[in-house]
Point group: C2
Chain length 610, copies 2
Amino acid sequence: MSGTTYVYNLRDLKFILKEWLDMGKLLSLPPYAEYYDADDIDFIVDNTFKVCRDKVAVVNDDADKIGVKFEDGKVVSPESFRDAFKAVNEAGLGAGNADREVEAHLPYTIVQSNYEMLCAASLAFTGYWGLTTGAISVIQNYASEELKEKFLPNMCAGEWGGTMNLTESGAGSDVGANVTKAFPTDEPGIYKIKGNKIFITGGDHDLCSNFIHLVLARIEGALPGTAGLSLFIVPKIWVDDDGGLGEPNDVVTTGIEEKMGLHGQPTCSLSYGENDGCRGYLIGAPPDENGKASGIRQMFLMMNEERLMIGIQGLAVTGAAYLHSLAYAKERVQGRKFTDPKGERVRIIEHEDIRRMLMMQKSCSEAIRALVLKSCYYYDLSHDSEDPEEKAFAEGMFQISNPLCKAYSTDMAWLLISDAIQVFGGYGFTAEYPVEQLARDCKVLSIWEGTNYIQAQDLVGRKFTMQKGKVLTDWMEDIGGFIKSHKDKEGYGREFEVLSGAFGDMNYILEEVSAYGEGDRKEMTPLFATRILHAAAMLYCGRLIIDQALLAGEKLIELGEDHFDAAYYKGKIASARFYILNIVPQVGAIRRVIGLGDASAIDIAEESFA
Amino acid sequence: MSGTTYVYNLRDLKFILKEWLDMGKLLSLPPYAEYYDADDIDFIVDNTFKVCRDKVAVVNDDADKIGVKFEDGKVVSPESFRDAFKAVNEAGLGAGNADREVEAHLPYTIVQSNYEMLCAASLAFTGYWGLTTGAISVIQNYASEELKEKFLPNMCAGEWGGTMNLTESGAGSDVGANVTKAFPTDEPGIYKIKGNKIFITGGDHDLCSNFIHLVLARIEGALPGTAGLSLFIVPKIWVDDDGGLGEPNDVVTTGIEEKMGLHGQPTCSLSYGENDGCRGYLIGAPPDENGKASGIRQMFLMMNEERLMIGIQGLAVTGAAYLHSLAYAKERVQGRKFTDPKGERVRIIEHEDIRRMLMMQKSCSEAIRALVLKSCYYYDLSHDSEDPEEKAFAEGMFQISNPLCKAYSTDMAWLLISDAIQVFGGYGFTAEYPVEQLARDCKVLSIWEGTNYIQAQDLVGRKFTMQKGKVLTDWMEDIGGFIKSHKDKEGYGREFEVLSGAFGDMNYILEEVSAYGEGDRKEMTPLFATRILHAAAMLYCGRLIIDQALLAGEKLIELGEDHFDAAYYKGKIASARFYILNIVPQVGAIRRVIGLGDASAIDIAEESFA
């Protein structure tokens, strides 16, 4: 077993796409009906699985052990990446999927299912087109037809990379502190750009012949803060009117980061206009007469999609770590059973604590897969549904789920991959086995695309109050209504009791939150936001996974215990029980802590910290 | 700020050694009275601090980035290690501390305080003598005078390294599965050794001229399992009667592990007797007429000490990560205050969620420092007290605390260092800042010297039932009695209410555990053991840290608010409040989960896992 061994739970994905979510309904909607139906799902995901197994997973060791190098001002990727990159593009799994206007595009739910498979194969490698998708979307949505024609075809084909340039050394979470500047030129719509950006994923490498940077910069005279930022298309190499590559555009890669993980992914520092020769196309209109610009709105349109993708990244590495540790636990012989200390030595999967760690990983990764793919499904409905009410409901559900996907998945990745390492024992700490790499690779996920605290703030501060609280009410009713309709289901008494308790805890938490807002304890909201997000995620994941378990129970009855698929359905029921009876009670602990309302972290004087 | 910047909370250590623990009493006991009194503590720990800062921390980047190499069969350490190793030995901080029979030796509490400082400076580097201390103790306790004279002086001086050889590729946690063999020779007490050992920390390197391996092996005819294992002293180079180095002893280093962290620490594979030329000295008597040998008992005498040391390692890296993230939070400017969104940009220490993460790290690392040093103190009393009752009580408290120290400290290290990385944002993921290294370095701590599950099993299976439960009763009475005597303390009502609730939860858990043992649910013990250990650790840490807070409160009254030390004492009170009101409620969640008694992890069929 090495980092190049591809492991992916295709059965769980197919359960979601073919049994749990109503993909038949989604695929019957106008954008898809002509091209796809639910019977195509097998073909699509099986094909992706093969590409991931045969072409992508095989580069994952190189990604980590060779990594990307910065030599003579150039970013050099591992040799094996060429073949893999070609395969991904040829299979239609690359950046082209971001073009939602092209005919026969896939629904987001399927695109992101493919993306989970790709991330599970090599998270570092997906950075070579992951941000191109975001850049394509922004250009597609906001740029002129001329610019679309100039840039999109080569970006969608994977010939040119795309990037998102927000971060500067003094402006991370605080985007408004950007100091990159833009100056009008004689040519309308074209500006000179000057500034330095850091942490640009895929900002330069040798798999693409050009890079189309989307750069946030402030046009002279625009407002300070985020309101004054405009967004520019800044090609690394100027593109001639005939579409060919012209002069270099004074964009210099000044270095790449040495990182804990994702060694194969270039994290670039880029310098724009060091020699005053950098030009970019303004997207949309210049700042209005008050100096208000539209760059941040353009950039943030894509943010929800990007954040969902990070949730999927966390899920992918967590799922891979689980399956690696499961395979190891089934083979490794060590010790005797606790209940039979004189018996034969057994495989470690027979030990109770190993099973606890496996179930922890299994149940949480399945719960998170349910969460993120359900969110994708809502996202699709919010775009494609022909029923305005359904559309609006789906939009709300997506909005509230989105920060849960990003933050809960990535916070849990760190914990769950630790369990995977623990299953491997000492070997888990060595580079000979794949799990330590997954732990290193995952650590940035809780940070990028908005730290997990920013997600918590988004949830509690924006999503809970959206449409005067209607979105939150819908979400709580979805959970409460579900519990109410199923709580008497035979065999699930304890599970619904716990879930119902957690629902009550969440109601209590929401009352507290609204009291903070009204009272003089406004600072309690940010103090507890992260924990509130976790409580919300556990409650909602509990609701989703028991929904899956009820369906699995029906399938079991339908197919009978002897069916080859019975093991899967029983496993799903076990996951739901484990998740609800072992994880969800933490919602009660969070309620308790919020009820205690300790503010010592706020009250403590700075000099008392050390 | 880099990995070579030394950060250590000397104030908290001095609070423990000079104010909280009665070191005056300990140092007045016979082994120490003649040499030390409490006034020496400052000199000792200040001196260690300087050595750590000036000589040890400076090699920590080399430990990670250069690391140890295996070239032409030799283990090559970074060049800078030579100077550091010399400094540690000259300062009396090396392996010599393990010799508890030498005059003027320090109590264990102070030795381990020094050890925390050293581990905080460079955890990888401490592996160059950490296992030598265990080997010295075993030889000191069990070997003949002749062998002691032959080996101990050079080991104590740091000239020769010592190692512990338990693990084989098929025998990790399952020590009894050892297949290394020993064959009698014509010379009494000398055996031929044949076998392969792996994961031998400090098993070979270029800072010592010889290695004295303690090797578990089975003499022909001895029992299978651990009962048949004997322990041998196997020098890498044979030591002549005059003490000089003689012939090589057919011990070959076959490789070192590539690891997630601790790159500077050699983790060796050793081959003994590949050419039938390896000899070792049997420690103690050969197996008795039933084939029962005494190796495992000899080896395990040291295990409690080693496990406490791992707890200290976890604490050390956690504490370092906290202080690095604190320093960063005090400098880094980013964003505006939640309660003043139009105000000036602030340093991130002014953000509530950053403060939450800092307090999480501060309160937990202080609680764990209280736990491990109190355990050391009990360990000293259990050896040195002249009052038999106190001695017996201290022994019991040490026994029960020991698995808590090892497992809770190291499980928390992973979580808390993650918070430190999060405080750094994107920079935390880069090798430019020191925290990602600490996360990588710490991950083995939950595995080696007995995985944390083995600690949980030790706690629940052995320590809880020791002396027919008297040890457990003493421990619970220590906590219950403390709560009872202080619960009406003004200003701590909520804290004692929560602690009292957790105490009740623990009682409930203990009743459940004893019901498992009597009933037909024996497998519930290993299923819940890890969570029971966490509950026990949180309850006990809560009891210890509020004890510290009460003392800090008295000091505050004594010194007044204007005293320069007031900030420290207030910080201690804040730590206790935060720990009890934010962490300890998790004990209730564990009680709930145990009450629900879900056995899905056991009941699930193996084929349902994937």
